[in-house]
């Protein structure tokens, strides 16, 4: 390194850094401190994660153990109910059938149950936080930088504290996915509510709406398209994070991909990858069509 110092003194040439021993000391202190803390709290952590674990297992076995044709029809019905579109229905049918045909049905079901739970939780957490951020500028000022950090931190990095605290398994995986998938929901909820027409809000005020009435009658319905984009983003983030979370013990398609990478199983990797893509596209199209359908009132009907 010193070779390209352009004749500068070492202080200006090499970035100043802590000495190796100080750094080692610091790491050790933080790591052991963290570990001790977790150990002390572990009964509590277990108490919290146990029901989640149970719920996840229950849902997973429901998806996996139900005869495929029932799940197949139920998913198609759901896709059609959301989108009212034959195209999306047929696309979903082909995708699901293909997944089964290539022997990935069970893994796909595991992934699907995981994504479903994670999306529900992410929306349940993100919506109220987003509403809070929309209501108060101070809340927004606090929440916004936190979201920035959450979204720019490489997803692998927060697997580490999650694993340290919760260990390996489905629940830590789920927590990592939820953390990753919640920010877009918060952001878009905040944005959607803030963009609602000021005049309409004023009208709601003029008729004496309470904050709650204003939220339910005006702000949420009018920000629905943006909220649906948030849900859609959350689903997509969950799906991509499920693959990463397989490193901490989440099963399903993600684990197959991980194995394929480790063992250079080319075909297996791509089949599982395509299965994930098929699920993602189906979710995406169905939820977007649903969002559009909710906006029927803005279309001009001619009857």
């Amino acid at each position: 390194m010193a070779s390209s110092c352009w004749g500068l003194p070492s202080l200006l040439c090499n970035a100043p850094e802590l000495s190796g021993s100080t750094l080692r000391q610091m790491r050790r202190t933080i790591d052991t401190g963290f570990r001790d803390l977790v150990r002390a709290w572990s009964p509590w952590i277990d108490a919290v994660t146990a029901p989640l674990q149970k719920f996840l297992n229950g849902l997973e076995s429901l998806f996996v153990n139900t005869p495929w044709i029932v799940v197949f029809v139920a998913l198609l019905l759901a896709a059609y109910a959301a989108s009212r579109s034959w195209k999306i229905l047929i696309g979903t049918a082909i995708g699901l059938f293909g997944i089964g045909w290539f022997g990935l049905w069970q893994d796909a079901m595991i992934t699907l149950s995981m994504v479903t739970v994670c999306t529900l939780i992410a929306v349940a957490i993100g919506l109220p936080i987003g509403i809070l951020a929309a209501r108060s500028d101070r809340a927004q000022r606090i929440i916004s930088p936190v979201l920035d950090v959450m979204q720019t931190l490489p997803s692998f990095v927060y697997l580490i504290p999650v694993v340290v605290i919760f260990g390996i398994g489905k629940v830590p995986g789920m927590i990592a996915v939820v953390i990753y998938a919640t920010p877009p929901m918060i952001r878009l909820t905040n944005l959607g509510i803030r963009l609602v027409d000021r005049e309409v809000i004023e009208a709601a005020d003029a008729f004496g709406s309470s904050e709650r009435q204003k939220l339910w009658n005006v702000q949420l319905p009018l920000s629905l398209p943006t909220l649906m984009t948030g849900v859609n983003q959350t689903i997509m983030m969950s799906l991509s994070m499920v693959v990463v979370a397989s490193m901490v013990g989440v099963g399903g398609l993600g684990r197959n991909v991980l194995q394929a990478i480790n063992n250079q199983f080319f075909t297996m990797g791509f089949l599982n990858g395509f299965a994930l893509v098929a699920i993602a596209i189906a979710f995406d199209r169905a939820s977007q069509a649903f969002g559009r359908r909710l906006q029927r009132h803005s279309e001009v009907r001619d009857d």
């Binding site: 709601a204 008729f207 004496g208 319905p221 009132h297």
Partner: protein, 365 residues
């Protein structure tokens, strides 16, 4: 000016119009509104005479309203007039507290709107006021019917009752058959009438209407004006109505407040304003007015000379000059007895008095 206007009449002959007594419904006292981050800092400066332009240039604050004082009569229609940007909407929003004053008070039933707690304000808005918005402000995701019941929804009135009331007003504003349409499927004028139906369904004693008829075509506009006049007669609502149109103001308004750059330029009855404009701004407004339809006999009648009898033709004091001229000509008389509000003979007018007053133009004064 009066000299010439009352041509042919001896000034001292003229009797004052016997106006009806009114009770103030909304009292506005020394109201100031300054927009900007630190409005309170500049109130004193404005009181001491700082102009709107100076305030804007030196302190980057916008003067919305300056020292407004007016009593809007209860159970009557008051009209606020003025050019664009003169502060009409701002003044109206002070009445239901959508905008809070920088200084001054807005008293309704003796209570200052600016001092209400959020809860009191909410209750006040639910039960005492309804508002029609300049830009309609309909809820786009609700149908016409659902928009109309909005105020009642907020009050917690069950749909079973509220839809009945809403349907009545939707029909009355001429939107029957459109109950299940969304606002985006209606024309501007129809949307405005939905806003009107929404306010009327609320059945509040105070009705605030911000250019509520501006998007309507002339025929529907006349019809809606009649609705409003009927409403006021039957139910005695206190209505505050904003308009740009002096003819509309004169037709509807028991009292007219003319604003200019956030200040009251002149206030009074339509006749007072048409007969005695106090400045060029108001004079410009009333120049083109058809006086025969605005001025009433009570404003031009004169004392009967004691040696003469009351003329045979008897006309109420509220008769417009146009109508009076027609009636006098029909009976081929030359003068008429004008009755007081109680129906007693109060004074006389001659045909030439009437004709002169109809034909006087503002620029001749």
């Amino acid at each position: 000016m009066t000299e010439q206007k009352m041509t042919g009449q001896n000034q001292t002959d003229i009797l004052p119009p016997d106006e009806e007594e009114t009770v103030p419904g909304i009292q506005i006292h020394n109201l100031y509104k300054i927009f900007g981050p630190h409005p309170a800092r500049y109130v004193q400066a404005v009181r001491d005479g700082m102009t709107k332009a100076d305030l804007n240039r030196k302190h980057h604050h916008s003067l919305g309203l300056k020292d407004i004082s007016t009593d809007l009569p209860a159970g009557r229609i008051s009209v606020i007039m003025g050019l664009s940007g003169s502060g009409k909407s701002t003044l109206l929003r002070h009445i239901n507290g959508l905008i809070m004053p920088t200084a001054g008070e807005v008293l309704i039933d003796g209570q200052d709107v600016a001092k209400m707690s959020p809860d009191e304000l909410r209750t006040f808005r639910r039960h005492k006021t309804a508002m029609v918005f300049q830009k309609f402000a309909l809820l786009p995701h609700r149908t016409v019917l659902e928009n109309a019941v909005y105020g009642l929804d907020i009050q917690g009135i069950p749909r079973r009752d509220s839809t009945k009331r809403a349907r009545h007003w939707i029909e009355r504003v001429g939107l029957k058959g459109y109950e299940d349409r969304y606002p985006s499927q209606l024309s501007g004028g129809m949307q405005q009438r939905v806003g009107l139906a929404r306010a009327l369904t609320n059945d509040a004693p105070i009705l605030l209407m911000d250019e509520a008829f501006s998007a309507l075509d002339p025929l529907i506009r006349m019809d809606m004006q009649s609705v409003l006049l009927d409403l006021q007669k039957e139910l005695g609502k206190t209505i505050v109505f904003i308009t740009h149109d002096l003819d509309e103001a004169l037709r509807l308004g028991d009292k007219i407040v003319i604003l200019r750059a956030g200040e009251v330029s002149q206030q009074g009855t339509g006749e007072e304003i048409v007969l005695h404009p106090q400045n060029d701004y108001v004079r410009a407004f009333v120049k083109e007015v058809n006086r025969g339809r605005v001025v009433r006999l009570r404003s031009i009648l004169r004392r009967k000379s004691p040696e003469r009898d009351w003329p045979g033709l008897r006309l109420p004091g509220a008769t417009t000059l146009e109508e009076a001229a027609r009636r006098i000509l029909d009976t081929s008389a030359t003068e008429a007895t004008v009755l007081s509000r109680g129906g007693e003979p109060r004074g006389v007018v001659t045909l030439s008095d009437v004709m002169e007053n109809i034909l006087t133009r503002e620029d001749e004064i």
